[in-house]
Symmetry: C2
Subunit: 101 residues, 2 copies
């Protein structure tokens, strides 16, 4: 499997972020081809070490090739372009191949 992990830093307006994310960004991101599962943090994220982001999103694909194709697709580009509409605190976007251990 391959993961796109997004950690959103705290935005200027958390309530506005949450509304926009649910109503607009999730529907956009769910159109990304090859997306196998999409989970997000519900409620607050707690940091036992380091600093906590406002929201964590984990998007799963079958392979890194599928993930790269997804990011390059029109739907992936639209979802990426949407970040500037709500992620006012910035975000960390990580991609990696994952294995169950």
């Amino acid at each position: 499997m391959a993961q796109l992990l997004v950690l959103y830093n705290s935005p200027a307006d958390r309530a506005a972020f949450d509304r926009y994310y649910r109503k607009t960004h999730i529907p956009l991101a769910k159109k990304i081809p090859g997306l196998r599962s999409y989970s997000i943090s519900a409620g607050s994220v707690e940091a036992l070490a380091g600093s906590a982001p406002h929201l964590v999103a984990c998007l799963t694909f079958d392979s890194m090739a599928d993930l790269r194709a997804a990011l390059a697709s029109p739907e992936g580009q639209a979802a990426a372009a949407d970040l500037s509409n709500f992620a006012s605190g910035g975000a960390t976007l990580l991609t990696y191949s994952s294995e169950e251990v």
Copy 2:
């Protein structure tokens, strides 16, 4: 579900980290009660935005109550105490309730 997400910063010696993580830390962490799945990044983590950790580990539990009990258990405490044996670059440990969207 509930997630324990660990992002390990780059250690002083990546190869030594990887050996220790596989041989010692994974077997310790797999003893944690209530652990439903445990996946890690295989190979390098790439950052499309922000900075990339050396390794990402995602441990899944049925609920936040199970996750808290797991962290408080002797096995959870042993796994946490083991971090100082290999995570020389430090780590971010995040906990959150997760939902599929």
